[in-house]
Amino acid sequence: MSATTTKARFERYKNLEFILGALLTGGICLLVVFSDLLFPGGGEKIDLSARLLAPFASMDHPFGTDPLGRDVMARVIAGGKISLQVGLLSVAGAVVIGVSMGLISGYYRGFWDMVVMRFADVQLALPFILLAITFIAIVGGGLTNMIILLIISQWVQYARLVRGSVLALRDREFIQSARAIGVKDINILFRHLLPNLIGPVIVLMTLNVANNILLESSLTFLGLGVDPLTPSWGGILADGRTYLQNAWWVSVFPGLAILVTVLGLNLLGDWLRDSLDPTGRTSR
């Protein structure tokens, strides 16, 4: 009897996790997508007479203003456009490339495995900043290039993770039995192997989204991103650092935006991982 109540409690917790995660992520995404409607002009209007207003000091500026008198709330919401694009697209690209490479090299071993893994070793040996600076020097800045750079530097993580799992799974009997039946390789890779190793990939994905949102500001500082004046969460956060002692709100609100997004994605990722695992073993 108690076993069933624990199970019910667990189910309730899982549903709560999904609802909360969807609300947080969905809310942020909606705000960001409709930011132009909510704040025409994106809060770039400079008003030196209203410099560094504290939050709720004026109802026009609920999150306060920055040293140039721009509305922090409007800038944070508008800044989400760059941050979310970078965070989500770079991770999505890296996952697609990394997971496919990992599946192929782990399953087929041999020549392709060697090529992919030696390439990955070289990739891992290059310091990120060095790679970034070289990359900028050759192809120049811009949002697309930044996302490409992040994909190039991060697909290796997924490839190694997936390859390791494939090596552990490929000699398991259910893969052998699929081969014995004559199932095509492509189906073995994507119908049998992928669902069984997706758990850790989802965890790594949620971690990397947060990481990449922050990396965007460093890269913008190096001159790789969009125009440094275009707001982004990482950028606003970095700008506000100098005023942290007397105007905490400039940095704290973009930080909160990142926190809420990442929290939402983590909850969703957790829920997704558990709902993909019919045994529910990973969560208990």
Binding site: E173, Q176, A178
Partner: protein, 610 residues
């Protein structure tokens, strides 16, 4: 009764164990006297392992609690109730007074320490010995369990030893402090029969020498008959019967014990029968035993037709141990010049111990493994001359059933998907609706219901999972099914049902089976012909009667004599069972001698002595 020798050393009184609110053991009572062996038998989930872990007080780390009961240990300094002892007191008792050996010796040995370090550890801890003395004592202990070159073994690591040697090291470690009680939890289940016989002899000899009490936990009634003085039968957490071994086997009282004993196939019980046979089985239904099925002679083999599968001079080798410059220095000679035929409706059993190459042969036929040389012909077509689509068709006509049904089903897929997979892969049925109907039919054929299709593998019991694997194999209308130890992971009562299912299907659909097994008693019941493999070569091949009743090759005789038989009245002689199973790994260039086979009777081939 009051005799000091027969006074029990360990008494379990009214023991109940709970995990959360689930009671796994209820009011268990038994006792064991010094120098005696008590066997606790039961099927998976009967609570026998929890009992042993409770005596060691290790069950608590897994979340167990004890609502009632006492475990009295009568040590040299009075009686102790182990259940009320502190974990600190228990640490002094564990390993010193009560020692335990487990099923999987590789798991119980730490892979990064040498054998010597691990034996010395408990001597240093409990006996306060110095390291050098402990190592000398360790060597003596290894000699006691009859390990050759004990001195050198001390410096080796666990992975350098074979399974049987590791289990002997475990026993030596358990003996280190001369325990009063030895708990052996399925110690021979993972071992080959000849090695199992050696281990049982060692445990029995040590018991006589040291006068220990042994609690032997097993599911194998054959082993019980060999080693036990008294038997406790457990079922669903309760003791259903207890008694001296001969009485219990001769006259089982409880219906569960009766069903358990009736499901055990006994080697030699089919002497004189020319064909394999289906037997009725006793099932427990709501606590009442019921007889299901009837005796039926399995005369299905079509020897009048051309053979379905012909294997000729099959050689399969694996390269291992690459040298410094990438050259191959050693090879596993898994199969050497293996030739046999299988006819429609026939069951050919491949028997042998680990390393004999029996699985490799099955895997080569299934194209999971490439043959080094030789020829395989299926249904008149030669495998080597087949193009891709022919090879794919072969994967439809030959199906493979693995040992562990849980591991061979994708844990993330509903079983309906898994059963339909061969149908979809080979485009046997195209409409989704028809596929669903076919899956339901298959499920019902193997004794499940159509609603099971929407469940995941972990929601089934072991026996049900093997039924699912059989349904999956049947889905593609195969002509040959290769069953690789398909019964060895199952409890005996389930095993008996699956044997009957296999035989019914054979009669219905004219299936041929290549039955790979190490269990001679099951082989005797199921197969028409038997091939005995030794180091990748066929040592003896003939009809079931020829091989099992008149074994001619020395290895067949040795194998048969090692099989434990569930009959405690049998007097047995294990004197001929010595030595390890030789390894099939050889240096490059050091080819094994190909044995010549002689036909000593029509269809009975025996290799010359090696």
């Amino acid at each position: 009764m009051t005799d000091i020798l027969s006074a029990p050393i360990l008494t379990v009184e009214d023991l109940s164990v709970e995990f959360g609110a689930t009671r796994v053991i209820e009011n268990l009572n038994f006792s064991v006297a010094p120098g005696k062996t008590l066997a606790i038998v039961g099927e998976s989930g009967s609570g026998k392992s929890v009992t042993s872990l409770s005596i060691m007080r290790l069950a608590e780390t897994m979340g167990a609690s004890y609502p009632s009961g006492k475990i009295i240990f009568s040590g040299p300094d009075g009686e102790t109730d182990l259940l009320s002892a502190s974990q600190k007191q228990m640490r002094a008792i564990r390993g010193k007074d009560i020692a335990m050996i487990f099923q999987e010796p590789m798991m119980s040995l730490n892979p990064v320490f040498t054998i010597g370090d691990q034996i010395a550890e408990s001597l240093i801890l409990h006996e306060g010995m110095r390291k050098a003395d402990a190592l000398i004592e360790g060597k003596r202990l290894l000699e006691m369990v009859r390990l050759p070159d004990a001195g050198e073994l001390l410096a080796r690591y666990p992975h350098q030893l074979s399974g049987g040697m590791r289990q002997r090291v475990m026993i030596a470690m358990a003996m280190a402090c001369r325990p009063k009680v030895l708990i052996a939890d399925e110690p021979t289940t993972a071992l080959d029969v000849t090695i199992q016989a050696q281990i049982l002899t060692i445990i029995r000899d040590l018991q006589e020498e040291l006068g220990m009490a042994v609690i032997f936990i097993t599911h194998d009634m054959g082993v019980v008959a060999e080693i036990a003085d008294d038997v406790v039968v457990m079922w669903k957490g309760k003791k259903v019967e207890q008694g001296p071994v001969k009485e219990l086997f001769a006259n089982p009282q409880h219906p569960y014990t009766q069903t358990l004993l009736s499901s055990v196939p006994k080697l030699g019980s089919m002497a004189g029968e020319p064909f394999p046979k289906r037997f009725p089985i006793m099932l427990m239904e709501g606590g009442v035993p019921r007889l299901v099925g009837s005796e039926h002679i399995q005369n299905t083999a079509r020897y009048d037709e051309a053979p379905l599968l012909s294997v000729r001079d099959l050689v399969t080798r694996f390269d291992i141990k690459k040298g410094f410059f990438g050259g191959v220095t050693h090879r596993v000679h898994a199969a050497e010049n293996v030739s046999f035929d299988i006819y429609r409706g026939e069951t050919l059993a491949l028997v042998g111990e680990s390393g004999s190459g029996k699985s490799t042969i099955g895997r080569t036929i299934q194209q999971l493994q490439r043959a080094t040389s030789g020829n395989i012909t299926f249904d008149g077509r030669s495998l080597s001359s087949m193009n891709r689509s022919d090879q794919q068709r072969l994967r439809q006509e030959i199906q493979y059933i693995f040992q562990d049904p849980f591991a061979s089903l994708d844990p993330r897929k509903k079983i309906g998907f898994s059963i339909a997979e061969p149908i979809r892969t080979h485009h046997l049925i195209n409409s989704e609706k028809q596929i669903r109907i076919r899956v339901d039919q298959l499920l019902e054929r193997v004794g499940l219901t159509s609603e099971h299709a929407n469940r995941y593998p972990h929601e089934f019991s072991g026996g049900q999972r093997q039924r699912i694997c059989i349904a999956r194999a049947l889905a593609s209308n195969p002509k040959l099914i290769i069953a690789d130890e398909a019964l060895s992971a199952l409890d005996v009562s389930i095993q008996a049902q699956i044997i009957n299912l296999f035989m019914e299907l054979q009669e219905e659909q004219g299936l041929a089976y290549l039955f790979i097994s190490h269990d001679m008693a099951v082989v005797e019941q199921m197969s028409h012909r038997v091939a005995v493999l030794y180091l990748g070569q066929i040592a003896e091949l003939g009809t079931r009667q020829q091989v099992l009743e008149t074994p001619t090759h020395a290895y067949t005789q040795r194998l048969l004599s090692a099989v434990p038989v569930a009959d405690p009245t049998l007097v047995r002689n294990h004197a001929m069972l010595k030595g390890e199973i030789p390894s099939p790994i050889r240096r490059v260039g050091d080819e094994p001698a190909i044995l010549n086979r002689q036909e000593i009777a029509p269809g009975h081939f025996v290799a010359q002595a090696c």
